[in-house]
Structures are given as C-alpha cells and as structure tokens.
Symmetry: C2
C-alpha cells in the first residue's frame, strides 16, 4: 500500500517536474530507484551465489555465507534511471524533418520553455558523467569477478574516468585554477588564476582514484561502505542547497548538476543499505565502492569544486593516513584488519597486530608509544620487560572501538557514521567561513 | 618488428588525421584495437576459465575445454578506443576560464579549423551510441555469467538501446519516414513523408533487437559469429564509401558516422577472429554477438538508413525464417542443431531431427516433402513404408552442408561467409538501382 503511494508520488513529481524544477524529477527517480533496487536484490541474490560471488560474514556466529557484489544491482538501476532522466533535464522541443539518408531538411521550433529545464548544452557533460559511471561499474565487475591485484585495482577508477576527462578536454578544457588572495599577496602578483595545463588532468585523475579507493578502504563492518556513501551524499546536498538558495547564478548551475546526480544515488543506496545493514543479508562488493566514490569525483570535477569534495572525505583521508604505517610496512600488517568479533558477548573488539612475532621498525617504537599517549592506538606491554606485545590495527574502525570501548557491530557502524556526519557538516561550515577569507571571496552571498 | 611498424603507422595516421579526415584516425585506432585485443586475449583466457567461463568444443576430437565470452575483451577494447577517439572527432579549440564554483567568466576562441573535423553538435549523438554499446556489453556479460532464459535474453538488446532512443528523442525526435513514389501514386497522395510518432521508437527498438539476436542465432561453427560480423562490416563500408564519394552532402555525414564506428570495430573483430577461427582457441560468447549486432543497429538508426541495414542482414533473416518451423515446434527441434562432427574423417555432416520418435505436425509433411524437392532440406524415408525417418535441421549451416556435401569446419565457415559477402554486395547493388526506382530518387548521384 505504502509502496503504491510512494510510486504514485514519484510518478507525479517526475511528471510535473518540467513546470517547476529538475530537482522534483530527481526526487521521483530516487523513489523509483529505491523501489526497483529493493525489489531486485532478493530476486537475484541466489544467482550471485550460484556463480561464485559470495563471502563469509566473519563477524557473525557460524560465519554465514552471503552473496557478494550486490552493489552492482544498485549501480545498474542508477544507470538506467539516469537514462530515463534525460528527457526531463534536456528536452529541447525541437522537431526536425528528415528525408532519409541523414537529410535534415526542415527545422520546426515548437514552444520553448527553457526556463525550467537544465541548459541543453550540458547534455554531453551529463552523458560523459554517465559513461564514466558505467565504465566504473564495468571495471568494478571485472574486479569483483577476477579478484584483481591491489596494484591493478588501485588505478582502475582512473581508467574509468577516461571518458569524463576526454569530454572535459574537448568541451571545456578549463585548466585554470584560482590563486588564493593570501598567496597572491605573498607572491606580490596580480594574477588571479594560474593555468595548470596537463597537470590539471593529472589532478582530476587523482581525484578519480582517491574518492573510490578511500571508500573501498574504510570497510569491514556491516553497512559501513553504503552508510558512509549515504552520509557523503547528505553532506553534499546540504552544501548544494546552500548554493542553490544563496549562491551566484553560475555556481547554481554547478550545484544543480551535483544535486541531480546525488539525489537518485541516495535512492538506490538506501535500498542497498536496507539489505547490507547489520545483520547483513548481502555484501556490496568493490563495484559499489568504486561506483559511489566515482559519483563524488564526477560531481567535484564537473562542478569545479573538487577542493570542497575533498573536505567531505576528511574521515576517509584520515583513515588512509592513519593506516599508512601499516600499509607501508613500518608496523606489521595482518591480512585482515577488521575488528574482532567475540562470540561470547556478541560485541566487536579492536583487532591487534602482533608486535612480538614481527617486531615493528625500531624508529616506530617511540611513535607507537606517542600514539598510545595521544589515545590514538591501544598497546599491550609485557609488564616485566616493558617490550611491546601488540597494538591495535590502525583503522578508523578500530580507533572508534579504542575510544568508546567494545560495542555491537550496528552500534559501531552508526557511531562511525555519526562522527562522519558531524565532521562533514563542520567542514562545510568552515569552507564558507575560512574559505572565503583565504580566497578573498565566496560564491555564496550571505545576508 | 611488423607490430612496431604497424603501431607507428597507426600513431602517425591518428596524429595527422586532424588535417585530413577522421577516417585516417579511425584506421589508426583500428590498428591499435587489433594489437591491444590480440595481446590481451592470451593473457586473460586462463582467468576466464578459472571463474567458470568456459565451454567444450563439440566439433573436435576429445572435446577440448576452451574459454568462453572472450568477445567481451574485443568489446571493452573497442569502447576505450571510442573514448580516445573523441578529441580527434570533436575538438573545438575553445578555451574557457573559470573562477571556481562553476563560474565561466571568459571565453577565448583559438584558431578554429572546423573543416576537417566532425560536426561538434554530433557529440551527444556519438556519446549516446557509445553508452548504448557499453550497456550492451554490461547486459551481455550478465547474460554470459548468469545464463539468462531465452525469453529474457531476447529482449536484452532493446533494454541496452534505451540511452540511444532517449537521446534520439531529446535531440532529434525525427519520426517521419519517406513514402515511396510508387505508394504515393497508388494512394493518390502528394504527401512525401508520414509521421510514425511512437511507432518509430518501436521500430527502432525492434531494429535493436533484430541485429544482435540474428547474429547470435547464426552460430555453431568456429569463427562464424565474428566472421559474419566482419563481412557485415566490410559490406557496410562498401556502401559507406559509395556515399562518401558520390553521395549528397547530408548523406555524407550519416555515412561518415557509420564508417567512424565500423572501421575500429573491424580492428578488434579481426583480432578476435584470429583466436576464434578454426581450430578455435577461444569462444566469443553472447556479449560479442550482441555487441557486434548493436553496432549495426546503432549505425542504421542514427544514420536513418535502417532499411539498408536490414538488406545487409539477408542471410541472417533467411536463417531465422528457415529455422522458424523448428523454433515454433511445427517440426521437432533437438536441443542442439549445430552440424554433426564425424571423428572418423574429421568432416562436418548436417545434423538431423528424428521424425519417428516425435513426428512433425501432419500439415508439415507435404511442406517437408516440397522443401526436399526444392533441395532446401535433406530427408531420409523408410524404403518400405515411405514414412519420413528424419530431416536435416533447418539452419543455414546445415543447408550449406546439404548443398555442398560434408566438409571440414573451416571450409564450412568460409563457404557461409563467401555466400554472405556475395549476397550482401548484390543487395547493395540492388538498393541503388531498384531502390532509386521505388523511392523516385537516390542519395547517390551516379555519373
């Protein structure tokens, strides 16, 4: 009953969107995406298991087998939504008569009501974004199927960003970035922008690599991959709505584009969250992490606010920096660093790296002790000899357990998501207060 | 050595293409596509077998196991080639300065040399074609992995054509078709065109279903799927070159688009042919058949010459019509209808449907006898009772064996491809002689 009401609301909002705003259609398609994903996941799960796409949930009694890579369903539904979305964004009310063989003899303009439509010239930008996301899904599936090596999969997102970067090159080719007022004064220059040329493309490729991989790395607890993507989407929308209500005309266009991509994403992600949250009935797979991260890369690149996008990824960036001593072998790194499940009390405990069997580099011992004093890791020391026995693995997940003590998996996930949300909102606030100070202006006109 | 020379030639032709014609770049990318596909196939084959993508070659002694779905490699290489191709087709020499947040303050036009470039407005058409092909690959992989049911897979190509049809709707919306002179006279009307409206979209969806499935059905002999796609490509190029040299200005644009899509396709298809031809080291999979067929659908739809495209598919159409008595259950249809391999002499013989265990519908007996008299099937009859014992399975492959006698698998494939080439070239000839008579004009101006 509720489902039908929702669907009716969705269709109505899509239908009337043409007279008001593309955001209404985004909302409608978001609901459709939720329903479609939610209906498909239980129907296809067994087929995924049958072809070998499954994994064991190590944080549950009995380690049940559940289907893996189910995020590919969300991603595919999203792609088809983005196809059906096109007429509601770009329809140009232009009728052309052909006489075969590609002849276009007559152009007949009908009633043009451009005001509530998105600029038609943005079509190829939009299509390149969808192509990039589809390439991400295609290569993500290859990763999930063939279990690629780390050094290959790390660069996959840059490969799938190729259509985006090439259309950017052909259609816009903007490689100038603003110089902050502070630096202008410091360098005694009157130039307000600098042309980065080819480096700008490397920067964009790096963005495309960063967002997907940083989501993929912050994982290991039921619901965390999709949960953090949803929080990222919500923070982005808060930022977008600031611009859409208070921003300058040009920044409105960029943030309309962002909202248009993110609102339907939230629909398919929420449906996946329903199935992936504790206790998980499906795993999301690398496909979803790449796909979700790529949406934020695309939005940041095409909207020219990639620095703001990076602000949203503070927890992920922290997680990566915090992990690096283990990733780069300075501190021993066990194969899995996800928290340890205790069947006795059903709680998650921080997992630990053994420092006796494989001692850390000498130089790291004072570092580890300082981190311990700063409460950034937990250490167990031999009471007699004072030798380090083990330390908690350096991931944001374990750190939250160190800070707040052992807790159930769902509580842990929610705690991390709350921290992420608070940091993200503070970052947005900071961006519009400190940011306008550094750059000498902001694109938002506060009262 | 030859490889390096080829690659150097490819890079040169891509580089200089901007001063001459996009066709030169197409040729260059075609060579690059051949080399990339040819290098990738042997490297990834074992991974395909490992995840369960393999099949048994029933027409070889010992029925060896070989990797399946390898055509996905050709298709993926093609998609990335089409991305890198974009600047050589559409670069517009336009530099815009941004001041962050989506501001576009300044537009600086640099030297515009549009004459040797493809019309920039065609960009979204091109991107929608690539999106459609990528969707085809994505859904084709789903088919290869999950082994979908016939009633689902038959309609898959229509689903992947959605981005194409939607961009067509938004950007062009041409749903008029020409009325042939003959019918104009017959109906006593002066209208030269009729608006099909929504039916035109159904017609395009039908085209998108027809080409991929008809390639998928004409299969069962090493190299035939990819071989027939190559022959289709060659015939299309002959047609395109007629228009590009003798055609009207508007038809040149449509056939340039066709050549631009087909030339790189021939590169990746030839590399696949090298590995799939007798004795096959890899199977191509449904992904490739859908992908190859979709290229011809896309070209026909966007170029507004879908009737000509259908002419190229005469052998496939015949194969489908010829198969229909078995497909619709009028004549018994065994699970496999591919020709029978005789290990003794290593030759292929027509496979037969048993008419004793499962007799055909009564009405079909005179039909079968007539087909036998027309040499369109072979029948074995009980010498005493005159009861039909069996008939050859109704596929083009078996028919060629009935006509020319048993032969080795590679000879059989080449014989079918030769027949296809001759029929195709005759169809093109007929289209420009009889076609111009029926429609009262042709888009080619003969001397």
């Amino acid at each position: 009953m509720l489902q039908f009401a929702l669907l009716a609301a969705a269709i109505t909002s899509i239908y009337v969107s043409r007279h008001y705003s593309p955001l209404l259609a985004a909302l409608g398609f978001s609901i459709v995406g939720y329903q479609a994903t939610n209906a498909l996941i239980p129907r296809v799960s067994s087929s995924f298991i049958k072809i070998g796409l499954f994994g064991k949930d190590l944080s549950k009694p009995g380690r049940p087998v559940i289907p893996e890579s189910i995020g590919a369903i969300s991603a595919t539904v999203y792609l088809f939504i983005m196809f059906f979305y096109i007429p509601f964004l770009f329809y140009k009310y232009l009728v052309v008569i052909t006489s075969g063989g590609g002849h276009r003899d007559l152009s007949v303009m009908e009633s043009v009501q451009e005001e509530y439509l998105f600029p038609h010239g943005k079509m190829s930008e939009y299509l390149s974004a969808v192509l990039c996301l589809q390439s991400t899904v295609l290569l993500g599936m290859a990763d999930d199927l063939f279990d690629l090596r780390w050094r290959h999969k790390f660069f996959l997102p840059a490969v799938s960003a190729i259509p985006l970067l090439i259309v950017y090159y052909v259609d816009f080719g903007v490689t100038y970035v603003l110089i902050p007022d502070v630096i202008q004064n410091w360098l005694q220059t009157s130039k307000t922008a600098v042309n980065l040329g080819g480096f700008y493309y490397m920067y964009m490729a790096a963005m495309a690599i960063f967002c997907p991989n940083s989501i993929n790395i912050l994982a290991g607890v039921n619901g965390l991959e999709v949960g953090q993507s949803i929080v990222l989407g919500v923070i982005s929308l808060v930022n977008d709505s600031l611009y859409l209500t208070l921003g300058t005309e040009a920044s409105k266009e960029a943030h309309m584009f962002s909202a248009i991509l993110i609102i339907p994403f939230l629909g398919v992600a929420l449906a996946l969250w329903k199935w992936n949250k504790w206790p998980a009935k499906v795993f999301v797979g690398d496909t979803f992490c790449y796909f979700a991260g790529m949406i934020f890369s695309v939005v940041g690149i095409l909207g020219h606010f990639s620095k703001t996008t990076l602000l949203l990824f503070i927890p992920q960036t922290f997680n990566f920096a915090y992990s690096s001593p283990q990733l780069f072998g300075l501190v021993p790194c066990p194969r899995h660093r996800m928290p340890r499940f205790n069947e006795g009390d059903g709680l998650m405990y921080p997992s630990r790296a053994d420092l006796v069997a494989k001692p850390p580099k000498k130089v790291m011992i004072p570092v580890l002790k300082s981190l311990y004093l700063l409460r950034l890791i937990d250490i167990e020391t031999d009471a007699k000899t004072g030798v380090l026995q083990n330390c908690t693995n350096m991931t944001l997940i374990n750190l939250v357990l160190v800070w707040f003590g052992p807790m159930r998996e769902d509580k842990l996930c929610n705690r991390i998501l709350t921290i992420q949300l608070v940091i993200g909102l503070l970052a947005i606030l900071a961006r519009h207060s400190i940011g306008s100070f550094i750059f000498g202006h902001d694109n938002i006109q506060f009262l």
